[in-house]
């Protein structure tokens, strides 16, 4: 099956019941690959559930769930290589973990502990790791887009064989950043994938209130770029489309916009009340008939790769791994008070030196 831009309906590889729609052989994925994919899905959902509890227990101040969007995030991160760069947004921890962020680091990020690669300097919606080429996002929706394009421009200038992927939501497409990033990417034919997780809501604002087009993918036409519409709850389809765009970028054939059509199960964040704006029944429909994990599990069963016993074993295994990860995170201390002034500049300025003395006196240290 061939991956084409601007399809009228989302590209699918699997029926909702998990039946393969077409010849999936040419994906070149082995049974082990499938099982790896599935473990990631279950793992991501488990991390999500755990963080949700941490917030409920008041141990973490903020959390944005990815539940429902696991296929979208994991399927798009798996085709990437070590040398590729990743820009996440406030809802992309699934992709970050596939790229190499440890669950223990994510938990530490949630808890604001030193094991957090960003040392508790960001509201917990995504730390960065230099060694993984993973840039930490600000909270300002859309800002990562032109940055990602700039990184891709640098990869081109430096003749690197790396590419860059940038995650953002449907709401972010209304910001100037999306427009400018798309335009720069197209003008410089940069090796970048602009990956839009269209979960149909920007907090309470529905896509039809956000923009007057039916899809996000078609917006690529305004930039002379290819736009791909994919079923974001079909991990094989997301994998195939992202792989296609990554190969294309690596081959110097330029940028792509991918719209991954999906749905979020949780409220916008732990601070939101989604009952105020969600039409009733909608969430139920997606949970029961569109769930990306159930769908892929059915595929595995359909392929005779999975059964109850394996499921139980996996769940137990993941549970154990996360228990250890959380323990590690909690074992790591809260950053030292005095470090609050660090890393503002490469070196302390005279003004910050003065403030360091003031703070020390204030803390009595």
């Amino acid at each position: 099956m061939q991956v084409k831009p601007f399809t009228d309906t989302p590209i699918k590889y699997l029926e909702y019941d998990g039946k393969p729609l077409s010849d999936i052989k040419d994906l070149g994925l082995s049974s082990d690959d499938y099982l790896r994919m599935y473990r990631w899905l279950v793992f991501a959902r488990a991390v999500d559930d755990r963080c949700y509890i941490l917030v409920r227990q008041g141990r973490s101040g903020f959390f944005a769930q990815i539940a429902g969007q696991e296929a979208s995030q994991i399927g798009s991160a798996l085709p990437l290589r070590q040398q590729d760069w990743m820009y996440g947004d406030h809802r992309s921890q699934g992709s970050l973990m596939v790229k190499g962020l440890k669950a223990s680091e994510w938990f530490a990020h949630q808890l604001g502990r030193s094991l957090d690669p960003s040392q508790g300097r960001l509201m917990p919606h995504g730390p960065g790791r230099r060694d993984l080429n993973m840039v930490p996002p600000s909270s300002t929706v859309g800002n990562q887009i032109t940055e990602a394009v700039g990184t891709a421009m640098a990869q081109y200038i430096k003749k690197s064989d790396g590419i860059t992927i940038c995650y953002f939501g449907d709401g972010a497409t209304s910001e100037g950043d999306f427009h400018v990033g798309m335009n720069f990417a197209a003008v410089y034919n940069s090796p970048v994938i602009l990956f839009c997780q269209n979960n149909q809501y920007a907090i309470s604002v529905k896509l039809e209130e956000q923009t007057h087009t039916k899809t996000i993918a078609e917006k690529a036409k305004a930039y002379g770029m290819e736009g791909y519409l994919v079923d974001g709850n079909d991990i094989l389809a997301v994998y195939a489309v992202t792989k296609h765009c990554a190969d294309k970028a690596r081959a110097g054939r330029g940028p792509s916009l991918i719209e991954s059509y999906t749905y979020r199960y949780g409220p916008h964040s732990s601070a939101d009340d989604d009952t105020r704006y969600r039409p009733k029944g909608e969430l139920e429909m997606w949970r029961t008939q569109r769930d990306p994990i159930t769908r892929f599990r059915s595929f595995l069963v359909n392929q005779k790769l999975w059964d109850e016993k394996k499921e139980e074993a996996l769940v137990a295994d993941v549970k154990a791994e996360l228990a250890i990860a959380l323990a590690e995170a909690e074992a790591s201390p809260v950053p030292e008070m005095m470090t609050v002034l660090d890393h503002t500049y490469a070196k302390y300025t005279p003004q910050l030196e003065w403030e360091r003395k003031e703070l020390a006196a204030e803390l009595g240290v």
Binding site: G120, R121, A172, G176, V334, E355, E362
Partner: protein
């Protein structure tokens, strides 16, 4: 003020969130030209529920849920204001105003001047600001310095529910663009009896939040509460602290500042924002130029540190009573 007002007319016990909502409802009822626009302000009622219920009352032509663009919110508000409406734009967190900063400083602030008074921008950009809510680097900032440094803009920041309602109504009625900064840390911190129905608290007038004769703390917004705490603390040591709540930062109340400096001769300037280039530098400069003869000690600034706003270490970052009392001693023991 709240109590005397309460005596006169019927009042409602309100948080600052309720006071702001009440200001919007009263003004939108009185003036058909007042509209409000922003992200999630419709059915969602805004992320802090300030606009809860407004869309049912006034309909979607006057309570406008916008796409996710601050540039669009402020730009559209300007276009509405020059046409003759009085838009109140909500920016979800003031940290997110910056994609629309150009529209505010290049357009709203300069429209009257560049048109030689032909066009005005009677609009309000209201937004929650400030720290102490575990919001991290992008849900905690106090960027008033940028707005005060922009001629053509007015900047207002209330410290209690009564002032919040009166100042917002005055801001909506003002014929110039007003940045209305709402201290989110105290959105629900305190309830006050506030009058039902519209009333104004004048723009450009400070309030004496506490009388004292030894040292003056000049501040605004959420920091007023902290200043009062510190004042209470100093009382033990026999130091009587006067607390000035500026309420309006641009144009600030020169008389109130002159009076308190003349009275105490010792000044502490308190803000949440980083110290360097912060708004309080302006107040220090004003005093050092116009009231230096009254000074009996250094003008001491208490502020956030000169770093981005942290997350886990917020406590080490934000001004606290200790930082303030150390400053008071610094200027007194001079």
């Amino acid at each position: 003020m709240a109590t005397t007002a309460a005596a006169e007319k019927q009042t409602t016990l309100s948080t600052m969130v309720q006071a702001v909502r009440s200001a919007l409802i009263d003004e939108m009822t009185l003036d058909q030209n007042v509209v409000t626009l922003g992200e999630d302000i419709g059915p969602r009622g805004g992320v802090f529920l300030v606009t809860e219920g407004l869309i049912d009352k006034f309909g979607k032509d006057r309570v406008i849920d916008t796409p996710l663009s601050e540039l669009g919110i402020i730009g559209a508000a300007i276009g509405m204001a020059v046409y003759g409406l009085r838009p109140v734009a909500e920016i979800q967190f003031i940290d997110f105003l910056f994609p629309g900063f150009d529209m505010l400083v290049s357009e709203a602030a300069k429209m009257r001047y560049r048109s030689a008074g032909q066009f005005a921008c009677p609009m309000v950009v209201r937004s929650p600001y400030g720290g102490g809510v575990r919001g991290g680097g992008y849900h905690s900032q106090s960027p008033e310095a940028y707005f005060v440094a922009t001629p053509g803009l007015k900047v207002v920041a209330p410290s209690n529910p009564y002032d919040a309602k009166g100042l917002l109504i005055a801001s909506i009625r003002d014929d110039d663009p007003v940045v209305f900064m709402e201290p989110k840390k105290i959105y629900r911190f305190q309830k006050q009896e506030i009058p039902n129905g519209a009333y104004e608290v004048p723009i450009g007038k400070a309030a004496v939040a506490r009388e004292g004769k030894h040292v003056s703390i000049i501040t605004f917004g959420a920091m007023v509460t902290l200043a009062l705490e510190a004042a209470e603390k100093m009382k033990a040591d026999g130091v009587e602290v006067e607390v000035i709540d500026l309420r309006t930062l641009q144009p600030y109340d020169v008389d109130a500042i002159m009076n308190t400096v003349a009275k105490t001769g010792h000044v502490v300037l308190l803000q949440e924002a980083p110290r360097i280039g912060g708004f309080m530098g302006e107040i220090a400069a004003f005093i050092a130029e116009e009231a230096i003869e009254h000074l009996e000690g250094p003008i001491v600034r208490v502020a956030g540190w000169d770093t981005p706003f942290p997350y886990a270490l917020e406590k080490a970052y934000m001004p606290n009573v200790t930082r303030i009392t150390r400053a008071i001693k610094k200027t007194l023991n001079f």
